[in-house]
Amino acid sequence: MHALIQGVILGVLTGGVYALMASGQTLIFGIMKVVNLAQGALVILAAYLAYQLFTSFGIDPFLSIPVTTVVMFALGVVVQLLFLRPLRPADRAELSLLVTFAVALLLEGVMSVTWSTTRRSINTGYANGSWTVFGYQVTVVRFWAFVLSLAALGLLYLLLDRTRFGRAVRATVQNPDSARLLGVEAERVSAFGFGLGAATAAAAGSVYGLLYPFNSGSHYDLISRLLSIVVLGGLGSVGGAVVAALIVSTSSAIVAATVSPAWSEMTFFVILIAVLLVRPQGLFGKVGRGAI
């Protein structure tokens, strides 16, 4: 029982970080109908940036987030303009999968060359600190990671809910054609949307670097988890992604605590298959939108 509850605590705290990564990915899908296979690589790249700022200048990863976010936002816009915009609309959905896969490999190659493939971790003074609450361990880093993720998600919510840009994004998600007719500039929304997706990856990446050791190949571990989460939440639904991240992360932490860590990797896939069998559109997805 103790192991189980400890697993749940761990799962919920980690789930917050995954929620942040997945929200960016599902946002990109919602706006452009692009499944961004490079999201994991963007997260790892942000983790490296935070690592570099910490080791070279001693800037705390939590404090460097504004910097990495801006850099990654710009990178996201560049990726959209260079690689995704030129695709013909007819086969954009199909080609974008392969193009973002290629971008992921490109980033992996660049990261391997820049930082080698040695596993890195960001060792701050508080990296190993932990509190004991009612007999359960809560590590300091994981707690703040969770808080930060919630804050970033809150900001994202405000941005989408309260600003003109957010309204344009929501209009595009709901109905791209009507949005265009009403004067929403699709290309600009797409570019900003991809940038925003990369920016959430940046915030999540700094935290990821604090939580786990990583190398350039780590994005492979991330991508299948993120994809399972966005499918479970319903492709395009940011709220769904948050709920799904908590579900998936908690259940895999429980499996790791009660069965074995080796099988917790499988949890994602089992959940994915189960979702597709029972509710193919995901928990909060709409039926038919963007269907083949």
Partner: protein
């Protein structure tokens, strides 16, 4: 030149090539070109004709490799050629595993299919590492060492792969000329409408996927025996998926010759790159850049683009000829 003649020329050349006494490196390169030609042709069945881009074919390549490895381990292989005889079983196993996965993954839309297949790829890799009792985990799995004479070591693998390529290309021709191909084209163009007018979309999609992954697994089996020792990170490698997809795109999707041409160009180019860049990480960057360039500059592939050019030129010359006749008459 008709299709049959073109095919006869290709396979005549393929059968004759080892007889001229090639160096080992050249024959080794051809073995890999053939492996990717078969797998790209197989991928083309589902990714090209049906327009369902599978990103998980490397998982089935790996399954094939491990299935053959395990069959050899438990069946007490007696002769050097016996592992080849088990290849149909390897293909069948993969097709049977692929069937339910396809049936579930293809229920919604193409994005979800791509997501399920790429997730499958990483799950299978994790399993290959974690199921130590069966796969040997990171220690790898040994196959019997092929007892072929060193001088002609590559030849048995080469000819088996030529046979598999013939199967893959005949299947492709069969698809192109049959109702199945028509149904797949309808799925690619507009699946909802196709289902509406009574095309059995689910059936043909799942069939195409199963045949496709079955062939891919058989290549995995040949590869495993050729290498005679397999490790999870090489048997289930995302780069294999990427290579297969890229070759099909470069040559031309939904064509007979595109995947074969793509495999020839890219595998040769890849070995050259690996040789020049020494397998370093620059190799990954170069590969990704080539991929992006092909997607952006030549999204339809070589064969359809060239065919279009030729057709336009022929159309122009035939249009001119009658006009001239008309004027003289």
């Amino acid at each position: 030149m008709t299709g049959a003649v073109r095919g006869a020329v290709l396979f005549g050349a393929l059968i004759a090539t080892p007889l001229v006494g090639l160096q080992h490196w050249a024959l080794n390169l051809l073995v890999f070109v053939l492996m990717f030609a078969v797998m790209s042709s197989a991928w083309n069945l589902i990714g090209g004709f049906a327009g369902y881009p599978s990103l998980g074919h490397a998982a089935f390549f790996g399954m094939g490799a491990y299935t053959l490895g395990l069959l050899c381990k438990y069946q007490h292989v007696t002769t050097g050629y016996e592992p080849f005889l088990w290849l149909p079983v390897v293909g069948l196993v993969a097709a049977l595993i692929g069937w339910p996965i396809a049936a579930i993954a293809m229920r919604t839309r193409k994005d979800v299919f791509a997501i399920v297949t790429i997730t499958l790829l990483f799950v299978v890799q994790t399993l290959a590492f974690n199921l130590r009792g069966i796969t040997g985990g990171a220690q790898g799995l040994a196959l019997p060492i092929p007892p072929f004479p060193a001088a002609t070591y590559e030849e048995p693998f080469y000819y088996v792969l030529v046979g598999l390529l013939a199967v893959a290309m005949l299947l492709t021709v069969g698809v192109m000329r049959s109702k199945v191909g028509l149904a797949l084209a309808a799925v690619r163009a507009d699946e909802d409408k196709a289902r509406g007018i009574g095309v059995r979309t689910t059936g043909v999609k799942v069939l195409a996927f199963s045949v496709s992954v079955g062939l891919t697994a058989m290549v995995g089996g040949v590869w495993a025996y050729y290498e005679s020792f397999i490790y999870p990170q090489f048997a289930v490698d995302p780069l294999i998926t990427i290579a297969i997809v890229l070759m099909t795109f470069l040559g031309g999707r939904a064509t007979l010759w595109g995947p074969v041409l793509g495999a020839l160009v890219l595998e040769a180019g890849q070995q050259y790159l690996a040789y020049r860049l020494g397998g370093s990480q620059f190799y990954l960057i170069a590969y990704a850049l080539v991929f992006l360039l092909i997607m952006l500059l030549l999204p339809r592939g070589i064969v359809p683009t060239v065919a279009d050019r030729l057709r336009r030129r022929r159309a122009r010359s035939t249009r001119v000829a009658p006009a001239v006749e008309g004027r003289t008459a």
